[in-house]
């Protein structure tokens, strides 16, 4: 394990971590809800078409939808029961999406999975299992993993990075996963290494998770043999340490070019949760239909780390945790820096849901914004070296189409600029608008 903390040089901020609410709480499985509402679009790419119809009897793990062409990922039933409806549901990000609602059969036996020896499988067989298990990048973007793990032949990938930074405040699901199942995460890493045909893996973890670093370092040591080098790198606590480009720079010193991808600099990055899902898909042959999420914030009665079935509605989670507090002011899916505020609890958990935050008035800031005073703090905070102040001023002046010069397309909306802005300007909103209107 590396003793000096690695970090990226430019920008970043230190929001209050608030991880103390849940970091010590073991993952508890949520009892099966009465029904689940499974979105057929939980990934980067086209939505799936439903393979089931109303009143079909289905089993936990059965295929619900498949990719027909192009990018996408399969969707599986997360409970056994009867299809109640095939229709449209609220989607946490893209407003609405096709969905399958399943009424849970409370007496159905849980499906059993037993481990097999993956080392006998060929590369294509492993990729096939990952594809048919519907694995996507569950850290956030939802990019289909079987595509990511098959980079074009001209890309000379030499390093795998597992992202265990978990730099978003409040979230502790990756922390608990690394602490409770380090050997599964590391086994997942070994599978990825074998698919990529490389032997170097770094696991980046922010230094505020000392116990997870220790557990992962031990698992990595045990697994590092005959040429495979898996090591844990402790990272400085600084947001957005877990952003793909910043993480690659922190660990390898390489910088991903503008409009480029990690494999342009010889790196593939996977979230630790995705590595564990790959372990389950390849070793257990189990599809991705449940995941660990953090439910936190000072507006929920009992914060927790939960193992939930995909498709579980937030309202079921809230009632299991004793309801919300009266001073609840905002509900966010994801972390507080990049997550999405939602207007209703009638929204299901998806493969990319990392947490649900119930924030009170004290935790958020709803003051109205004022003119830019040109303090330049956003220039200091931006990890990409952009000029959010100028983008905001241009957008307000009706010149959003002229903002490419300030690097608007390199922005990944980490929110550092808006976090530090003393005038409370909605800079991420301005940037999203600019991205829609600006010319590349």
């Amino acid at each position: 394990m590396n003793q000096t903390l690695l970090t990226f040089p430019k920008g970043g901020v230190h929001p209050p971590e608030s991880k103390e609410l849940t970091e010590h709480l073991p993952v508890e499985p949520l009892p099966l809800p009465e029904e689940v509402e499974i979105l057929l679009h939980q990934h980067f790419g086209a939505p799936c078409k439903s393979l089931v119809k109303k009143k079909d009897e289905i089993m936990e793990g059965d295929l619900l939808g498949e990719v027909e062409a192009g990018l996408g990922a399969s969707i599986h039933a997360s409970v056994s029961g009867k299809v109640k409806n095939v229709g449209t549901s609220a989607h946490p990000i893209s407003v609405s999406a096709p969905s399958v609602t399943i009424q849970t059969d409370p007496v159905a036996k849980p499906r059993e999975y037993s481990p097999g020896d993956w080392k006998a499988l060929s590369k294509d067989e492993i990729l096939g299992r990952i594809k048919s298990a519907g694995i996507v990048g569950i850290g956030g973007a939802g990019f289909p993993t079987h595509v990511k793990l098959a980079p074009p032949p001209e890309a000379k990938v030499d390093t795998l990075i597992l992202n265990g930074a978990e730099c978003e405040p409040y979230l502790t699901c990756d922390h608990r996963l690394m602490l409770e199942h380090p050997e599964q995460v590391v086994e997942g890493a070994k599978i990825i290494l074998s698919v990529l045909g490389i032997d170097e893996c770094h696991i980046g973890i922010e230094a505020n998770k000392a116990d997870a670093i220790e557990a992962m370092a031990k698992a990595a040591r045990d697994a590092s043999s005959n040429g495979t080098r898996i090591r844990v790198d402790a990272l400085k606590v600084k947001y957005p340490q877990g952003s793909e480009k910043q993480l690659i720079q922190s660990i390898t010193g390489r910088r991903v070019p503008g409009f480029g991808l990690p494999f342009d600099v010889g790196v593939i990055v996977q979230n630790v949760g995705t590595a564990r899902a790959i372990y389950e898909a390849v070793v257990l042959n189990k599809p991705l239909y449940e995941k660990v999420i953090t439910v936190s914030g000072r507006g929920i009665q009992r914060p927790a780390n939960l193992l939930v079935r995909i498709g579980t509605r937030l309202s079921d989670i809230v009632s299991y945790l004793g309801g919300t507090k009266p001073d609840l002011a905002k509900v966010v899916m994801g972390g507080p820096m990049m997550g999405f505020a939602i207007p209703t609890l009638d929204v299901p958990v998806t493969k990319t849901t990392s947490g649900v935050l119930f924030l009170t008035e004290d935790e958020i800031d709803t003051k109205p914004h004022s003119n830019c005073i040109r303090c330049g703090w956003c220039l200091e905070a931006c990890p990409m070296g952009l000029a959010p102040n100028e983008i905001g001023i241009y957008v307000e002046a009706g010149r959003a189409e002229d903002t490419a010069q300030f690097g608007v397309f390199e922005c990944f909306e980490c929110g550092c600029c808006a976090f530090v802005c003393p005038a409370k300007r909605p800079l991420v909103q301005f940037i999203r608008l600019a991205k829609m209107k600006a010319k590349k």
Binding site: K10, V13, P16, K245, R254, R255, V256, P257, G258, G260, D264, V265, S315, V318, T324, P326, L328, A329, K330, V331, V332, P336, M337, M338, G339, F340, A341, I342, P343, L359, E363, I364, D365, T366, K367, S370, N371, C372, I373, R374, C375, G376, L379, P383, M384, G385, A387, F406, G407, E410, G415, A418, F419, V420, P422, A423, P426, V428, Q429, R432
Partner: protein, 342 residues
């Protein structure tokens, strides 16, 4: 179930947590940092410095409220920025001026230099300095002769009432410019006395500019809070000291850099006026050049120009260059161009 379906939550764009900083907090902190020099000025020049300052602040705040009403904009006097302008305007006029003078300066500063240009964030020039430049142009006699010798015995009502003109004096920079360093020492004592007195604030000058000590305390506090960065103040002060050392004496490399920094409005200007967010560059490289420009123009005006002091015009001139500096010196991008790998 404690789930209240009628509850209204905020739905807004990320990030959902914000730092605790705000424009108001910054502005009122600057105001607090400017108060100690005002209190000391009462003991140096008498109670009328307080009256002038209160009139200046009051008329700035009133002008801001009226301007915003007239222009149909939200009234934002609570953000403290007009209070800062009022304080700074008072601090850069002589202590013996008539009480109506700051009122005119305030109207010019707030209505013309700030709100007619778009309000906070859009003014090109520092409003307080525009106010002073306007007064200097329209009332040159009052602005260049209403200097008072420091009071040494705490008789703060000494200069109240008639006969103030009779006691007016000259500033160290004026004496230095017209009569040389010998005359300065004749009037203010040995160099060590001069350094000590000027450092604390016991010298003729504008109301709030004389106490290097208290202005430094306030400036360092703002640096510590992160509200200003060192780039502009340090580059301004170093440039003034360096250029004065080279060109400020009878021969090259014989100027007195310490005296140059302790006189006039260098410390006030470098920490509290050149650092104004709106009118200075946002980017660090631009800030260093901005400060160096302020320093160079100050020395040029002091040594070759018609005025003994040049900080005000130097900052105003550099304010005009500031947008160009921001355009020329952009932040360094994270991403190398695609193709330039490793």
């Amino acid at each position: 179930m404690a789930l209240n379906e009628s509850a209204l939550w905020t739905v807004s764009v990320s990030p959902h947590v914000k730092s605790g900083e705000s424009v108001e907090k910054i502005m009122w902190t600057v105001v607090a940092c400017l108060i100690p020099p005002l209190i000391l000025s009462i003991f140096i020049f008498g109670i009328q410095t307080l009256i002038i300052t209160l009139i200046s602040v009051g008329s700035c705040v009133a002008t801001e409220a009226i301007s915003q009403k007239l222009l149909h904009r939200p009234v934002t006097v609570r953000d403290g920025s007009a209070v800062i302008t009022g304080l700074l305007l008072a601090y850069i006029i002589p202590p013996g001026v008539p009480y109506w003078l700051p009122v005119l300066g305030s109207i010019m500063a707030i209505y013309v230099a700030k709100h007619l240009l778009g309000g906070i964030g859009f003014n090109i020039f520092n409003p307080a300095l525009i106010g002073r430049a306007f007064l200097l142009a329209t009332f040159p006699v009052a602005m260049t002769s209403a200097w008072l010798p420091p009071i040494r015995d705490a008789s703060i009502f000494k200069y109240m009432g008639p006969g103030v003109d009779a006691v007016s004096t000259a500033t160290p920079l004026y004496i230095l410019k017209h009569y040389g360093i010998g005359a300065v020492m004749e009037k203010f004592g040995s160099m060590s006395t001069i350094y000590a007195d000027f450092f604390v604030g016991w010298r003729p000058g504008c109301i709030g500019e004389t106490s290097t000590l208290l202005l430094l305390v306030g400036g360092i506090f703002l640096l510590y809070k992160g509200y200003i960065s060192w780039h502009i103040p340090i580059s301004t002060i170093v440039t003034i000291a360096f250029l004065t050392w080279i060109f400020g004496g009878e021969k090259l490399f014989t100027g007195n850099p310490l005296l140059a920094v302790l006189s006039g409005g260098v410390i006030l200007g470098a920490f509290f006026m050149a650092t104004d967010y709106v009118t200075s560059p946002s980017q660090k490289t631009g800030q260093l050049i901005f400060g160096a420009g302020v320093g160079a123009l100050t020395v040029l005006i002091r040594l070759k120009g018609g005025y003994p002091e040049g900080v005000c015009y130097a900052i105003l001139l550099m304010n005009g260059v500031s947008p160009a500096l921001d355009a020329w010196f952009k932040p360094k991008r994270f991403a190398p161009e695609k193709g330039a790998i490793k």
